[in-house]
Amino acid sequence: MEQFLQQLASGLANGAIYACVALALVMIYVSTDHLNFAQGEMAMFSTYISWQLMAWGCSFWVAFILAVLISFCMGVFIERVILRPLHHAPVLSIVVVFIGLLAICNSMAGAIWSYLIKEYPSPFPKADFGIAGVIGPHQLGVVIVTLVVLSLLFVFFRYTPLGLAMRAAAQNPQMARLVGVRVDWMLALGWGLAAAVGAVAGIMVAHIVYLDPNMMGGILLYAFASALIGGIGNPGGAVVGGFIVGVLENMVAYTGNMIEKITGIYIIGNGEKLTVALIIVIFVLTLKPAGLFGRVVVKRV
């Protein structure tokens, strides 16, 4: 029972990470109709920036905040400079550009900081919290930080004028212009926020998976699966989807381990995580493209 709870807690912690990245993906999708394939690598790059800041002497949380701010600026820059001229380009061009971004982020991280796996510190004290043996301090910290960030975003979008303007611009850009909203800047802001949220996810997960340029590949795939499960246009759904996928992933691995322990037969375990994500992605895309909470978009002929 205790092991089950541990896996559940671990699943929630992983789910929190997936929820963040999935939210970033959905934010960009909702405002631009594009899937940001480079989201994972951007988050990884941001994490390296925070690592570098700490190497230069900053404390963890200072490095965290600075890295998140820098990532925000990077996101705005990418949207304004690289993506803006391609607003009306064919889908293939846009996908190609995203892959290009992916390649640049990944290879530059490897070039600057090498491909050696690095350890990444956890800001959460190593003491037990009285929930000893079930959830570790870092995992608990991850869930709390994630929930704080998500709440801040929710409040921002729901209750501030700028958040309202961004929602309007995402929903109906033409009409938003007609009420005076500078839609182009709203898109850039959306990208900045998405990059910032991705940075939070990367920094939180680095302690668990260790810092290396390829650390976010699998996480990105899981984030896509989460976003699809929640309904690709639904930010709340993406968050719920993230937690579902996180728990599901751990349950599958746990079940596989149990089966192996009992019967000695290995069916599935930690080495098949990406395959599971692939199956989820294909499944949702082909059978229920609207996910749990999304709406099916009818193509106007």
Binding site: L164, Q174, R177, V179, G180
Partner: protein, 237 residues
């Protein structure tokens, strides 16, 4: 007194297709002008061209300043409100949010709140449905919301694209009555595009008739309304 809106030699293009060939008119300050014509004559395109939502050529001057090449959102910030065809309400935002978004560019909170009360004075029905999602409102209520939202921009000029479209006659009459009040009490000049020529000519003081992208005739609304020849040739009744 210089006209509030001066349009000269306006051409407009959708991609490679030319939709307006040579449109020119003046909107005086404080008046209601209507743009009439058959389907496809270019009425909607003219309103879009004024807001630079389509590729244009020619000159558009507002309050003496050339706004031809400005971005749509900058033109709107000069206090031209465009109520597009199909209302253009943000359907998944509430009535309240639709009104707030229009006040996005305005800083003075007290002024904005007072404005809201005035707007609810014209459209009490909207006040009843303030937390309702705009997409669930009836057609007439959505049109009212679109006009109310335009009012929140505190416009000097309101462009209305077929406000009667798809609405029951009684609602249309009510809306047009409110438009007259808005024109008189808020001092908002109106440029009205309408298929329903009779109603439009009742409301407006001046009329322009468009045919295949050109202005073919214009005159005081009363004259146009009573001239049978004009009505038969251009307006179909």
């Amino acid at each position: 007194m210089p006209a509030l809106l001066e349009v000269k030699g306006l051409k407009a293009f959708y991609g490679q297709t030319q939709a307006l060939y040579d449109v020119g008119f003046d909107i005086p300050e404080g008046g209601i002008t209507t743009l009439l014509g058959a389907n496809g004559a270019g009425k909607t395109t003219t309103l879009r061209a004024i807001c630079n939502m389509v590729r244009t050529d020619g000159t558009v001057r507002f309050g003496g300043e050339d706004i031809t090449r400005q971005a749509t959102e900058e033109i709107v910030r000069r206090r031209i409100a465009h109520v597009p065809e199909g209302r253009g309400t943000f359907t998944s935002l509430t009535v309240d949010e639709n009104l707030r978004i229009a006040a996005y560019t305005r800083k003075n909170k007290a002024e904005v709140d007072a404005e809201r009360e005035r707007v609810f004075g014209y459209f009490p029905r909207l006040k009843e449905r303030i937390q309702q999602q705009a997409g669930t409102l009836s057609g007439g209520e959505q049109q009212m919301l679109a006009i109310a939202r335009a009012l929140m921009l505190k416009p000097r000029l309101m462009l209305l694209d077929e406000p009667s479209f798809g609405l029951a006659p009684l609602i249309v009459v009510e809306i047009f009555r409110i438009l007259r009040r808005i024109n008189e009490e808020e001092k908002v000049s109106i440029l009205l595009v309408e298929q329903n020529a009779a109603l439009a000519l009742d409301l407006a003081s001046h009329a322009y008739v468009l045919e295949t992208g050109k202005v073919v005739m214009h005159g005081p609304a009363a004259v146009v309304k009573n001239d049978e020849n004009i009505r038969k040739s251009y307006l179909g009744y």
